[in-house]
Symmetry: C3
Subunit: 219 residues, 3 copies
């Protein structure tokens, strides 16, 4: 990923996304009254957990061990929450945009890294989705809650849709840069439009729940 290291703009987006992901973990940890260490671990797991899982499955060196920025960034996020605790609720929209930007970048990075390992594109879509969304699942497992992204509005599906856009560009023979741009834009737009218009995936109803919402004991 030498193109990332050479373009400062992408480093900034990477930092912003990591920061937003870590903030989301630390805020949920604070709602559970975890101490600073616990909050840091949950923040780090949210920010780098997805990429770590990806690197383990691809048998690649774990990315955050080669660059201390990610863990420093998580430390800054912890400081931020400690200092601006009372005002975080007013930064809600900013964090939402940062989070969506991070989701888009992490998806692109995950897909490209997977393809660079010689994997087919469908594995890339899965790994891109994992890079973007698995950190949030690990976060919810650590704070002992049902994973939010399995129940709430479109989040991981935005990565899947962006991944399909990546695959289409790939098949059409687009160059790397426009492919990345289109994939990231699709993830970002899918995510923000889904939240704006409250678009959700259908929910699976329990088996003893009939059509009109009445619970019948049949099991």
């Amino acid at each position: 990923m030498s193109w990332i290291q050479s373009i400062n703009f992408l480093e900034i987006i990477d930092f912003v996304g990591t920061f937003a992901f870590a903030i989301s973990g630390i805020r949920l940890a604070s709602a559970k009254r975890f101490d600073w260490f616990g909050a840091y671990v949950v923040g780090a797991a949210t920010a780098i957990g997805g990429g770590t899982l990806r690197d383990l499955m691809l048998n690649q060196p774990v990315f955050w061990m080669e660059n201390g920025t990610y863990l420093l960034c998580t430390g800054l996020a912890l400081l931020w929450v400690i200092i601006f605790r009372k005002n975080l609720v007013h930064m809600h929209n900013t964090f939402f945009v940062f989070d969506a930007i991070g989701l888009a970048l992490f998806t692109v990075v995950g897909i490209q890294k997977t393809i660079d390992c010689g994997m087919p594109i469908w594995v890339g879509i899965i790994m891109g989705t994992m890079t973007g969304a698995a950190g949030g699942v690990i976060r919810d497992v650590l704070i002992n809650e049902e994973p939010l992204i399995f129940r709430k509005e479109i989040y991981a599906m935005a990565c899947v849709v962006g991944g399909i856009a990546f695959a289409v560009c790939h098949w059409l023979g687009f160059a790397t840069f426009p492919t990345h741009l289109i994939c990231g834009a699709v993830v970002f737009l899918t995510r923000t439009l889904a939240v704006k218009y409250q678009i959700c995936l259908p929910t699976l109803r329990p088996e003893d729940d009939d059509e009109n919402g009445k619970i019948s004991k049949e099991s």
Copy 2:
């Protein structure tokens, strides 16, 4: 495992087991009202989680990345639950048999793959058990429940018993095919007999629970 790829019968069993495992995850996810994406992820984690953990620990390529069948099969299981939701309860016995067949096959595959990596047979027994039973643990962690197989009737222990049968055949110098057949049959029979006669492992009592069930506050 070229013998698996060449024998269609085994591919069918593999598919049936994956399908039954995925169904079990998707049904539990639906009881928690997860959306389709969440149900798919829980189903996939149940079906391929154990084998993924095994491949990571053995430092082997993750099996489902090399063959798209497993994720397709999970998708079919999701469709099945969406379409036949009301009737699933009547397919209970069929799913139980499919699940036990899957447990047997996954154990055999896990042990053989571990031995092929040059590991001793006792590691093989652990990896075979992990291939068969760890997916169910990951499933229960994702839906935020205490793992069922740590409390209910014999499940993972059937893999251990089958693994010991594998080791005995191995030491006696049996060929690969009868060894696999005996191991699988022992897993299947142990599992089905345990459920039929409600055989459970002993439970550890809490430390403040005395012999006759009376709770004494000593701690």
Copy 3:
């Protein structure tokens, strides 16, 4: 780590630490009325989970596959809990000391193994902390509780403090043996003093919780 294999004293400490970690997992599993298999798995995850995660991330062979002692030791811990269930509460102080010794040794082993892989020392501190403390997090995830070490007195932070001591010795050019001794002693002392004087890390307050503990609905 040939120095470990050649010095019996360290093997004894390793065994004692593994035993104490496994006991802690098995006791919590028994409070949840898990069966013997479930208790064994939770005990093993507590004792070897941290080191397993470390070895996966460092892309090293998983340590307990190369030496059956760790799983045997977990089996002995299960037997111990089954036999001495009623008296475990009286062994509280002994187990606490064993656990702190294990924490110290696991931290040292984790840091040294990471450095031997050519990683920088800050990765070593993280991996040492993971070796010592991640097993307890996996344990709490498996029994479906919020991780204790994210809320309670200094535990994982003792590994971090010991790791910083290791780094200082390393930078000062100390030999391996005194570096290990100082690191282990710092972990052990930090842990025991923190418990004796009930030293905790600050807790993050929820965002809707104002200074004097009154809950105001602002979110």
